[in-house]
Symmetry: C2
Subunit: 138 residues, 2 copies
């Protein structure tokens, strides 16, 4: 239940009906190429692309992260007013956020059981539930 279910980057894009352009494939490779889940920011992904064969502009990184999120391939996590984080694991799961280094990581979800989650008010449904556990270095 922790594995990414797609055979390759093109398949990942196709599963969301997105055109496999050179840039998108390059970013997809950096995001899910090794089958591991990861958390990126526009800046961190941009830097990763700078160190790779296929260069992608910062504006395109921003646009692509947005497109991927809207297509359901990524999940945007808001932890910090400034930067936006994107998670390749799109399921509801809790996160640890290191306040000093501003690093985001998965928190062990097995333990977490949210009992009696408040029901959505009249005329609304729950879109998603974000649980962010902020950590302070001791």
């Amino acid at each position: 239940m922790d594995r990414i279910d797609h055979k390759n980057e093109a398949g990942w894009l196709a599963s969301a009906g997105l055109r496999p352009t050179r840039q998108r494939l390059a970013l997809a490779q950096l995001l899910v190429g090794d089958g591991q889940h990861r958390h990126v920011t526009a800046e961190s992904l941009y830097e990763a692309s700078r160190d790779s064969a296929e260069r992608v502009s910062l504006a395109t990184v921003y646009n692509t992260l947005r497109v991927f999120s809207e297509a359901g391939l990524l999940r945007e996590i808001t932890v910090n007013g400034a930067r936006s984080y994107f998670d390749t694991n799109v399921s509801n799961h809790p996160h640890f956020f290191w306040e000093d280094s501003e690093e985001l990581m998965d928190a062990p979800a097995e333990d977490l059981k949210i009992a009696g989650l408040p029901k959505a008010p009249e005329g609304a449904e729950i879109s998603k539930v974000d649980v962010v556990i902020r950590l302070r270095r001791t």
Copy 2:
């Protein structure tokens, strides 16, 4: 347990060791003057002050919200990469966030029971836990 425990704005500031300046008193009045908890953004508080007797500049509203938060009088809630929200209720409690109107409100906390919250990793302690339930209008 839902009431604000201070007699007046000056007392609220004093409880955090903050100097009761005219502007701070005015903002404190808008924030906790009626004993109700509320959620504000810099912009919304600025507008409220514009409609009140005591005018406060936007920069001072920003600085004051920051100072109040650092002093523990307010709790900053990050729901939306763009804007920052501040809650006069500084305890750990869940929030509803309306995605369309970008409105933040308290969620009924009685029901919510987070069982088996992941323990903080070695060398860290939990600073706070944010639970944001995002709502979509149906």
